[in-house]
Structure formats: structure tokens, C-alpha cells
């Protein structure tokens, strides 16, 4: 191939643009930065801004940033500002792991707030355990985890179901149709649900799992018609929630006779499917946007002021918000020279704060959170109406379905 000087220059320019656009960053060394130097406390914020779960995770990123901005505006933590280092893990477990390493080992963050899916939490877990750092996980999840390096501020199965399942049996009947996405979260929730059904005299007419991202529910809906359950107990996640609700409505099924009872449908999913499709169905969660409390009104107003009046808050973004305040509270207890992940972990044990959902507390034994279960029905406006509120907060029992196992401060203990 003959090459003129001009083509070469053109090529070289392309190469220059290519190489100059940031690659040298990987050589930057910041190994010796102190953890809380110069009145700055560095934390990581690890929610996907691109990729398949970006829509929901972006709202988690926003709630976390809002809380950090509020804390800093009010003078920070004993004069030190919280500096959020935001990374985009692109909805990919391998990238989650890479970014977690960067935040923990490279940037020396004292804590990282992050993850929506269990898969991404599992991917970063080795990083936090090996480096003895602290991960704050805001999502409801399946339980059965007992890590000393994670603070879990979302609900575990007992906190979503203990009240919900008996209430559904009493109100609608005992025949349950279990439908979920095919991964560990729905399976574990259903394991627990079946235990409760056994206890309260309910029965399972069908248990079915659809692939993640599944959007064709006609055969499922036919099966619902033929089995005639009283309750459709749904742990379908993501875009599938939207498809399931729309197709249920299109098939002419009636929420008054055969309602869907979901653990995963929040204001966020309802906004995606439209209130009409969601109206009449039920969700159990510790938080709903319509919940009346001074703290929640303040949270919703601040969130909409900061990010747009059309934005909704939901039970995962609320946990993002209050866990940042719990972090602040824990760090406040420490001398500046002591600020490090293990001391923060010890300081957060038993910490309490008034969250938008009510007063919450970190259980010292297992670092999960005492929450306020609520049952609500969706309205065509896209908002929920809260029907049942727990009279007291509920202890987190991550191994509720497994009576032989208990998560303690020393790790998982087997009782034989």
C-alpha cells in the first residue's frame, strides 16, 4: 500500500485523538491519599447510568447525591465535606467489579453506596470483603447473606411478606399463583411465601419463572385463567413488570377478583407502564411516595426540586436517601483520624434515624435494617394508596426461611 504524507497525517491525527482521549489516566497514582484528608470524606457512588438497569439505578444515584448535597449544605460532617466519586458500572457485573476496585483500592473511599441487582452485589462482594471496606446496599433482596462488609437498608423477605401474605389470604382467598423472573431473588421470596402459605392454610396453584426481560405473557395469562387463583403473587422484575401488567389488562382480567400482589412494583415501574395498567393491584414495601410524614414531605419536595417535578420517589430511592444519613451519623461519632470502613461499620451498629418511612435502625447483629412494612394499592393516577401500616417496626431476619441458620456479628451460625 502506497501512502502519501497527507494520508499519514490524517491517520496520525486519528490515532492521536484516539490515544489522547484519556488513556493516560490509568497511570495516575493516588495510593497515598489519606482517607479523610483535607476536610474531605470520599465515598463511592456506584449505580449504572447506562445499560439495561440504568433507568432505575439513575434514580438511586440521584437520591444518594441529593442526600450528600443536603449534608454538605448543612455544614458536612463535623466540618468535613462528603466528596462523592461517581462511577458508571454500565449494568455489567464485570464493570461493577472493576469500578468497585477503583473506588476502594484506587480512590480509598471509606464507603461505597451502590447496586440494584443481586448479581452486581455478588460481583463486588469479594472486593469489599478482601479490602475490608463497607458497601451500602439499598435494594430489597432475597436475604440469605451475612456479610460483615455490607450494610443492607432494603427489605428482606420477612419484612415484605409477614404481614402481606396473611392479609391477602384473608381478603381474597387462599389460592396463590406464584410468578417470578428466573433468578435467585424470586425463588427465595417464593420459598418464604410457600412457608407462610403452609402456616396460614394457603395453597400454590402454580409456580412459574420467566426469563429476565421476558415480555410475552399470553401463555401465562391463559394459565391464570384456567387455574383461577385468588391472588397472583408476583416477583417479576424490570421491564417484564410493565409487560405483565399491560397484557393482564389487555386480556380483560379483573384486579378485583384476581389481583396481582407484588413485591417489586414501585412508583418507578408504574410510571413506566402508566397508572391505568397498574390500577387495582397491590404492593408490599416499607415506603410509598404518598406516605404522610414530615420527613417524607421534605424528601419528596427536595427530590423533585433538585431533579424535576415529574420525578417519583420509591422504596429503593428512599433507602438510598436515608442510608446516606445513617452514614453521616456513624462518621460523626468518630474522631477524624479514626474514619475508616471498620470503624464506620462499628459505629453504624444500632444507629437510628427518622427516615421518610418512619424511624429505622441498623440491627447490630446482621447489619440489616428495622423497617416499617406497608401494604398499598395502586391507583390510576400512578400513585399508591396505603391500606395497611405496620403498628411497629419489624426486625430484619435474613434467614427467616431457614430456622437452622442465624446471621450474627461473628458470621453465620448453624443451630442444629
Amino acid at each position: 500500500m502506497r501512502i502519501s504524507r497527507r494520508t499519514l497525517m490524517k491517520n496520525a491525527a486519528a490515532l492521536g485523538a484516539f490515544a489522547g482521549a484519556g488513556f493516560p489516566h490509568i497511570w495516575v497514582k493516588n495510593a497515598d491519599l489519606a482517607r479523610a484528608a483535607g476536610g474531605e470524606i470520599k465515598v463511592g457512588v456506584l449505580f449504572s447510568l447506562t445499560g439495561t438497569t440504568a433507568i432505575i439505578e439513575e434514580s438511586l444515584n440521584k437520591a444518594t447525591i441529593l442526600a450528600i448535597e443536603e449534608i454538605n449544605a448543612a455544614g458536612g460532617i463535623k466540618g468535613s465535606k462528603i466528596v462523592p466519586i461517581i462511577e458508571d458500572p454500565a449494568s455489567d457485573p464485570a464493570t461493577f467489579s472493576e469500578k468497585a476496585r477503583k473506588l476502594v483500592v484506587g480512590d480509598k473511599c471509606v464507603s461505597v453506596f451502590g447496586s440494584y441487582t443481586s448479581a452486581s452485589r455478588k460481583a463486588v462482594l469479594p472486593v469489599f470483603e478482601r479490602q475490608n471496606n463497607l458497601y451500602w446496599y439499598p435494594t430489597l433482596y432475597e436475604g440469605r447473606e451475612c456479610s460483615k462488609n455490607v450494610v443492607y437498608t432494603g427489605a428482606v423477605p420477612n419484612q415484605q411478606q409477614d404481614e402481606f401474605v396473611p392479609w391477602l389470604i384473608k381478603k381474597f382467598g387462599k389460592k396463590f399463583y406464584l410468578i417470578g423472573s428466573n433468578y435467585i431473588y424470586p425463588k427465595e421470596e417464593n420459598n418464604y411465601c410457600k412457608k407462610l402459605l403452609e402456616k396460614y392454610g394457603g395453597e400454590v396453584v402454580a409456580e412459574e419463572y420467566v426469563p429476565l426481560g421476558h415480555s410475552e405473557f399470553s401463555s401465562v395469562i391463559n394459565k391464570m385463567r384456567s387455574t383461577q387463583p385468588n391472588v397472583i403473587f408476583s416477583t417479576v422484575v424490570g421491564d417484564s413488570v410493565v409487560a405483565l401488567h399491560r397484557q393482564y389488562r389487555a386480556a380483560g382480567l379483573d384486579p378485583e377478583k384476581m389481583p396481582m400482589a407484588s413485591l417489586t412494583t414501585s412508583e418507578n415501574e408504574v410510571a413506566a407502564m402508566g397508572g391505568e395498567a397498574a390500577a387495582g393491584h397491590f404492593t408490599s414495601a416499607p415506603y410509598f411516595q404518598v406516605y404522610k410524614s414530615p420527613e417524607n414531605e421534605k424528601f419528596v419536595a427536595a427530590y423533585q426540586k433538585r431533579w424535576g417535578a415529574d420525578k417519583v420517589t420509591h422504596f429503593v430511592s428512599e433507602a438510598c436517601y436515608f442510608q446516606t444519613y445513617l452514614f453521616k451519623q456513624a462518621v460523626e461519632k468518630l474522631a477524624t483520624s479514626d474514619i475508616a470502613p471498620p470503624t464506620i461499620r462499628d459505629a453504624v451498629k444500632g444507629a437510628e434515624t427518622i427516615a421518610p418511612q418512619g424511624k429505622v435502625r441498623i440491627e447490630p447483629e446482621n447489619l440489616h435494617t428495622w423497617l416499617w412494612p406497608k401494604i398499598a394499592q395502586c391507583k390510576s393516577s400512578g400513585q399508591f394508596e396505603i391500606l395497611v401500616e405496620a403498628k411497629e417496626w419489624l426486625k430484619p431476619v435474613p434467614y427467616a426461611a431457614y430456622p437452622g441458620q442465624v446471621c450474627t456479628e461473628k458470621g453465620l451460625v448453624e443451630k442444629s
Binding site: 500500500m1 490509568i26 495510593a31 458508571d88 455489567d92 477503583k102 455478588k122 478482601r130 453465620l412
Partner: protein, 379 residues
């Protein structure tokens, strides 16, 4: 090319071809001198592993003319083989008695399934991580190339096969860990020597595998079989008329490429400390094709550097505050630039730049001499 000085088969001289490989390997081995930080070592090790994967694709695509869009399938098989062995080495803290992997307990599996049993032996796993992908590729290749499937159909079949395997892994979560993959792994230990994901030992292990795969791939391209494979790429029909068994050569290069990808997959599990179905996902598999194209698919070193540079840049861009919102756009724009202006990738650019410099120098020497002569003349 009948002059006695040229290589008998008409190949470029060995030295000129092997030099870039040796230089790149030397640089890779010297990197820990510069990267005195565990985190950077680990990160660069990850990019090097992706580099090996891309070399494996360059072998089948650039030299064999087989565009395997499912290259990540072999990578994923290797990765799972390693993860299965390391999972069985963990102390069952999350499981209690029986030593079953935690996700199996969650899915109410009572006994270790038969295909997990042999992975109790680490040597079996190490061999399986390379041999299984090669066998799978050979079997798939047998169907493809014996039936004389060519071109875009090969790509479609390989891509589809990978997607099927990916779905099976996600669906059979009681045996595979499903969507979450296989997590909570033990460290790899060979003869009592532990390979920590952040340690130098792991980095040098990866670096040695970089050297090994580049040299093996290079050696193959110089053998007679390697030459036949390249001839098939250029004109399949003509080679067949010469009496060569075209399919056999294609199957061989396809399987060799899969074996190298399997090796990369095993290393990836060590470096990342988990295995995930995304390791044999469409996104990764297509990224490999892009890296290969950017680096130059007909150059092993080019493909390797393409992966390391692009993956490294992707990481750096998405980490810089300025590009946090737009890094995917910037990456896209850069790819368009490369495809438009560098059809042979970075390797092609380097080659033409080298020729241009050589010609310039020759020319300027000529001119200088000419000028000198005129000066002398005028003096």
C-alpha cells in the same frame, strides 16, 4: 521472488515479524516496575486477559477468515471451568455441611451434580478450561465446515450457539448459579503458591500467558498448516482444487482459537474473582470483534494492543468526571474514526508509518548527497 536472499516460501523474514511480539512481551513483563499499586496491577492484568481473548479471535478471523461472533463462548467456558474448581475449594461458610456450593443449597439441590464432581481436582479443571472449549469448537466446526457453510452464516451460527449456552446457564441456576454467576471463590493455589488477584504473581501469570498465546499463535501462522489456512481465507475454492481438505484446516484453526480463548477465560476468573454469564454475553463477544478491528485483525500484536488500548481507554474515559455522561458517545465516535481512516487498524497504521519513515530517510539521504555534490561542485 527468486533471489537467494529471500525466504524460500516467500514469507517476510522471521526477525521482522517476531520483533514486535518480543517487544510487546518485554513491555508487559516490565509493567510492574511502573505500576507499583495493587489496584493498577489488577486492572491492567484484566486488560491483558482481554488482549489474549482478542488474539484468539485475530487467529480465526484475521488468519482463518472465520468471523466468530461467539468467541466469548469459549472464554466463558474457560471462566466457568476455573470458577467451578475454585468454588469447590472454598470453605463452605455459607452452606454448612456437605461442602455444596451455596447457590445449590439455595436451590434445594441435595447432591453435587455429576458434572461438578471432576472439578474437585484442580488439574482436571485447568485442562478442561482449555480442552473443553477446543472440543466444543471442533464439534461446532465439524458441522459448519463439513457442510461448507461460509461467510455471514458462520457468524450467525457461532453467535446463536453462544446465546443458547448463555440462556442455558442463566436458566439452570441450580447447577450454574444462574444470573448471578459463580461468586465467593477461593484463591487459586498451585503447589502451595497462592495467586492473589491483586498480586504480582497473578500479573506475571497473566503476562506469561500473553507471551505464550502470542508465540503459539505466531508459530502456527508460520507452519505449513498456518499458510494453508491463510490461503483458504484468500481463496477457498482454489485451495480445495489443490486437493487440500479445507474443512479439516478450518476446524483446526477454529479449535486452536477456542483453546486460547478458554485459557483467557480461566485467567479472567482469577483476576475478577467471579464468573458471570455476561462473560459469554453478546456485548463482550462483539466488543472483541471491535477491539480486533481497531488493533488490526491481520496482526496478532495489533489485535492484542487494540484490546488493551480500547478497554483501557473505555475504563479511563468512564472514570473521568468530564466524560461520565458521554463516554459511550466518545467511544462510538472514535470507532467511527478508526473504521473510516484506519481500515487495517492500528497495526496497519504503524506499518505504513514505518514504510513512510524508511522511504523518507532514503529519499532525504539521496537529496542530501545530491545537495552535497552540488555544493562541492560550486565550491
Amino acid at each position: 521472488m527468486t533471489s537467494k536472499t529471500s525466504f524460500p516460501t516467500g514469507l517476510p523474514r522471521l526477525g521482522a515479524q517476531i520483533a514486535p511480539i518480543l517487544i510487546v512481551c518485554a513491555i508487559v513483563f516490565a509493567l510492574p516496575l511502573v505500576l507499583n499499586n495493587d489496584f493498577l496491577l489488577n486492572k491492567v492484568a484484566r486488560y491483558l486477559v482481554l488482549g489474549i481473548l482478542t488474539v484468539s479471535l485475530a487467529l480465526s478471523w484475521g488468519f482463518g477468515g472465520i468471523l466468530n461472533l461467539g468467541q466469548a463462548m469459549s472464554f466463558g467456558i474457560g471462566s466457568y471451568a476455573m470458577a467451578m474448581a475454585l468454588k469447590l475449594k472454598t470453605i463452605p461458610v455459607h452452606t454448612g455441611s456437605g461442602g455444596l456450593p451455596d447457590f445449590m443449597v439455595w436451590n434445594n439441590v441435595a447432591r453435587l451434580p455429576w458434572f461438578w464432581q471432576p472439578f474437585k481436582s484442580l488439574s482436571f479443571a485447568l485442562a478442561a478450561g482449555i480442552i473443553v472449549p477446543a472440543l466444543v469448537a471442533a464439534a461446532l466446526g465439524w458441522f459448519i465446515f463439513r457442510s461448507r457453510v461460509t461467510g455471514v452464516y458462520v457468524s450467525i451460527i457461532t453467535l446463536a450457539t453462544m446465546v443458547v449456552l448463555n440462556l442455558v446457564i442463566i436458566d439452570q441456576q441450580s447447577f450454574t448459579g444462574g444470573f448471578n454467576g459463580i461468586t465467593d471463590l477461593a484463591q487459586l493455589e498451585i503447589f502451595g503458591f497462592a495467586f492473589d488477584a491483586y498480586g504480582r504473581a497473578t500479573f506475571y501469570l497473566v503476562a506469561s500467558c500473553v507471551a505464550l498465546s502470542l508465540l503459539v499463535a505466531f508459530a502456527f501462522t508460520r507452519t505449513k498448516a498456518g499458510l494453508v489456512v491463510q490461503a483458504i481465507r484468500d481463496h477457498e475454492g482454489r485451495v480445495r482444487y489443490f486437493g487440500y481438505d479445507v474443512a479439516a484446516y478450518q476446524i483446526f484453526v477454529f479449535a486452536l482459537s477456542a483453546a486460547i480463548a478458554g485459557l483467557a477465560g480461566m485467567l479472567y476468573t482469577i483476576v475478577m474473582e467471579f464468573a458471570s454469564p455476561t462473560f459469554l454475553g453478546v456485548q463482550l463477544s462483539l466488543s472483541v470483534v471491535v477491539w480486533c478491528a481497531v488493533g488490526g485483525r491481520q496482526s496478532l500484536v495489533g489485535a492484542f494492543l487494540g484490546a488493551v488500548l480500547v478497554a483501557g481507554m473505555q475504563g479511563a474515559l468512564s472514570e473521568s468526571a468530564a466524560f461520565l455522561e458521554t463516554w459511550t458517545l466518545v467511544m462510538g465516535a472514535l470507532f467511527v474514526l478508526v473504521v473510516l481512516f484506519l481500515p487495517k487498524g492500528l497495526a496497519g497504521l504503524t506499518k505504513s508509518a514505518w514504510r513512510w519513515i524508511v522511504r523518507r530517510r532514503l529519499a532525504s539521504q539521496g537529496i542530501a548527497r545530491g545537495v552535497g555534490q552540488t555544493r562541492e561542485g560550486s565550491a
